[in-house]
Amino acid sequence: MNLEIVLFIIFSGIAAVTAVLMITRKNPIISALFLVLNFASLAGLYLVLNAQFIAVAQVIVYAGAIMVLFLFVIMLLRPGEEKLMDFKPVLKIFAIALSAVVLLQIIYMIFLTGPGAAMTPVLESSIKAGTIEQIGRELFTTYVLPFEAAGFLLLAATIGALILAKKKFE
């Protein structure tokens, strides 16, 4: 049993368990903290997959910036009223059954088609594809137009968030 398998089992176990805990907790702050743990274990999985840059970006952008924003808003709005929001049990059972059917369908399709058999993973090219040098080169040559568009999107989102949060409602 080599290190890669051990790390995969640890990180995927944490990711799966925290995902379930995240949607079942009553208190949204605890949900948010479980989601941070989920994102951190996903960063670990990205490292197992030799995607160094994406792993670092995952920790900085998701577990850092986005989740801090979520926690800020949760603490600002002090939502302690989840007990009053009764979810109908019939709807809940229906949703879980539907999700289980969809999950079984996806798993069946994954093992029926077996995409892993069609590709021969080479460790050297996999490591090379995950370095910040390779991703930066792709980003500024092939994908330079989408990159500029992403920058414009962030500017638009900043202005939109400012206007939405500043607006006074009567």
Partner: protein
């Protein structure tokens, strides 16, 4: 590379379905929003897995763009939630039906 690609895809499918269940069953707007982030991340996981197994960084560039969109979406969505809370003093998405005709 000793783990089959299928295992990553199954984990990604499980996380996606968990996010769908969260969106369908929870009534707190912020938790619904966090479930959407979970679904985005599960898609990211399968894209990074494919990219790494193919030795091609296009998938990881795409994940970078998904992260950008998720950051923009979180900023705008949370601003909408704050505006909603100021207006209705509730985070229950069942009570938010002002756009219903």
């Amino acid at each position: 590379m000793s783990i089959p690609l299928e295992y990553y895809l199954v984990l990604s499918a499980f996380m996606f379905v968990t996010g769908v269940t969260g969106v369908l069953t929870r009534r707190n707007a912020i938790v619904v929003f966090m479930s959407i982030e979970l679904m985005l991340n599960s898609a990211n996981l399968s894209m990074v897995a494919f990219s790494s197994f193919m030795g091609n960084s296009a998938g990881q560039v795409f994940v970078f763009f998904v992260m950008t969109v998720a950051a923009a979406e979180a900023a705008v969505g949370l601003a909408i939630i704050i505006a909603l809370f100021r207006n209705k003093v509730s985070l229950n998405i069942d009570e938010v039906n002002i756009m219903k005709w």
